[in-house]
Amino acid sequence: MVKEKAVLTGMHFMSGDIACAEGAIAAGCRFFAGYPITPATEIAEHIASRMPKIGGVYIQMEDEIASIAAVIGASYAGLKAMTATSGPGFSLMQENIGLAAMTEAPCVIVDVMRGGPSTGQPTLPGQQDVMQAKWGSHGDYEIIALSPCSVQEMFDLTIEAFNLSETYRVPAFVMADEVVAHMWEKLVIPPAEEIKIVNRKRANMPPEKYLPFMPDDDLVPPMACFGEGYRFHATGLTHNEYGYPRTQSSEVQTKLVQRLCEKIRKNADKIVRAEENMLEDAEVVVVAYGIVARAALSAVKKAREKGIKAGLLRPITLWPFPEKTLAKAAENAETIIVPEMNCGQLVREVERITKSSRVFHLAKLGEEPHSPMEIFDFIRRKHK
């Protein structure tokens, strides 16, 4: 059945979408349920051609609601599962993302962001879904969201998303954008044995001792999959450690929902990743992510050339947000600049953390991402 290698070790020239698909396969993903949508379609297309050759499953579902629901089912059946979409599909998935959070089903959702709202700009980049990633489904829960800025990171962070999702039993998002997804760059795929793979913590106690939602000290319950001999009851209703609904109990609701949040919040230091560039003495801190961060890095270098002490903080995990890194960088900063391809989303997080009155947002909508010059000019204007 297996006709091709899963991990295509070597140097490649690839698009971000294809790199993302290869990352998923390298991470051990053997189930993809999806629905075509620009600019994420190539992920599904590539997986559709690869899965039959490596003994995996590609299913094209009837819509995005079905796609994420199938992914949750496959995850519980025991496979690493993923779907990929863009804004309109991401909106449709939100209810089931809540279900995945509530039932603690590990899964990866790739959102290749385009311009919104609604159908918006299917072929142009955006960063307008980053708050939706955090707050999109109703109720309180935490998720993990990563932001790739290159083709290499589309590969690396997709693997990382699987590892984090499996570790914490949460939906993990790869929040890419149209440029990163469609751009072609060099990609190095390491040998399979050098790729760090994390698999979900399995139930290893005798079946009569197993409580499906009894957490360990890290707040994550070990996971038994369907058919492994463990009694299993999972529900989107508020449930106790047995998995049974307790919809009238304040105690059970408080304990469950707080744990869903705290398993991420208390482990945030282990999850959070950020790239720091020239921040040690920075008077101007630029906070940028995704493709915008690459223009921002050029802008910061240019500012340095012109004698402005600028630095770049690039959150790699958008959620949880690298709060401590930012707080430290902001201590001595006079000006904080947040260029985003939206009307001001992650800038709110920056304002909340730094409590600075000198946080400036540079919006860019409806075309190419910010150019280095645009960000540089903005730095010069705002930093006096």
Binding site: K3, Y35, P36, I37, T38, T41, A44, E45, A48, S49, P52, K53, Y58, Q60, M61, E62, D63, P88, L92, S118, T119
Partner: protein, 321 residues
């Protein structure tokens, strides 16, 4: 309206102004664009069109132009029928209150196969169950062409698409086409029909019937796509004829649930020797190219078997054979 008003002769059609106008950006040989034009030749008065996301939505409304000479609304992918429900219900109450003077304002919802078979079927099923008086037109080019040829519930068995790629492991799509028009007949709505643009008068007549009938109507139109089917752009209309002649896409109407064959298919029912083998239809399309290799010839036989089986079933429903 009296039947003599819609003779739809070539002369009448030529004289009637186009409401789907030229200048759109459809590909060469795009049958769906022809279908849109023919549909709009059939309307009888004030008409509102609501259009799900899809090729025809995109190519007909490229800034700063529109091909639509009627009020036109682009909805999300999944909800053209729900959107039409809202329009129709609002018009109805406004008419009741005397705020609208027109005798009737027609509502047409248009969607491709993705927006009908797959993501759109929930809204469609709900709308016709509630009995809204509107016409739903499915232009079926048998895959998600707008995003680059991914399989849909309307993609036929054995067709190669980017998400059902024929290769070393699979012979193209593994599942047959969903019988969507029969599913709509099962909703017990007053009018369901299939049409194909080669038989243009039949198509226009069916659109008009769908508009005139009280209650929901569903029209399934066959619409070859040379880009997606890997077929000669000059042969799209010919393909729309071949599909009927091979019984891959028979033409019929179900009026209040009573099936009857339309003339082009009836001819084949009466003279079965005229029915062409599916291979003739398959051989001229790149999406089926792999079926002509020895490795996948069984799949071709299976396509013929399913086509014959469905044709026989249809004949029974029509009280023939």
């Amino acid at each position: 309206m009296q039947s003599e008003e819609w003779k739809f002769t070539a002369k009448d059609i030529a004289e009637k102004p186009d409401l789907f106008m030229s200048g759109h950006r459809a590909c060469a040989g795009c049958a769906p664009a022809t279908v849109m034009r023919l549909i709009m030749k059939a309307i009888r008065g004030p008409t509102i069109v609501t259009h799900a996301t899809g090729c025809m939505e995109v190519v007909s409304t490229i800034y700063p132009y529109t091909s639509w000479a009627v009020p036109w609304l682009h909805t999300a992918f999944e909800n053209a029928a729900a959107n039409a429900s809202g329009i129709e219900a609002a018009l109805k109450i406004m008419k009741k209150k005397g705020k609208i003077k027109h005798e009737h304002v027609d509502v047409i919802a248009i969607a491709g196969d993705g927006g009908t078979y797959d993501i759109g079927i929930q809204a469609l099923s709900g709308a016709v169950e509630r009995g809204h008086d509107f016409l739903f037109v499915l232009y079926d080019n048998e895959a998600y062409m707008n995003t680059g040829i991914q399989r849909s519930g309307g993609t036929p068995l054995g067709a190669s698409t980017t998400t059902s790629p024929a290769g070393t492991v699979i012979p193209g799509k593994l599942e047959p086409k969903k019988p969507i028009a029969d599913i709509m007949v099962a909703h017990e709505i007053p009018y369901v029909a299939t049409a194909s643009p080669y038989y243009w008068r039949d198509l226009i007549t069916k659109v008009r019937k769908g508009l005139e009938v009280e209650g929901p109507a569903f029209l399934h139109v066959f619409a070859p796509c040379p880009r997606g089917w890997r077929s000669d752009p000059a042969k799209s209309i010919e393909l729309s004829r071949l599909a009927v002649e091979t019984c891959v896409f028979p033409l019929w109407e179900a009026v209040n649930g009573e099936y009857q064959l339309s003339t082009p298919s009836k001819v084949l029912a009466l003279a079965p020797q005229k029915k062409k083998p599916v291979k003739e239809y398959v051989a001229v399309q790149g999406r089926f190219r792999h079926l002509l290799t020895p490795k996948f010839e069984k799949m071709l036989e299976e396509i013929q078997r399913i086509t014959d089986m469905r044709w026989q079933k249809l004949l029974k429903k029509c009280g023939i054979a």
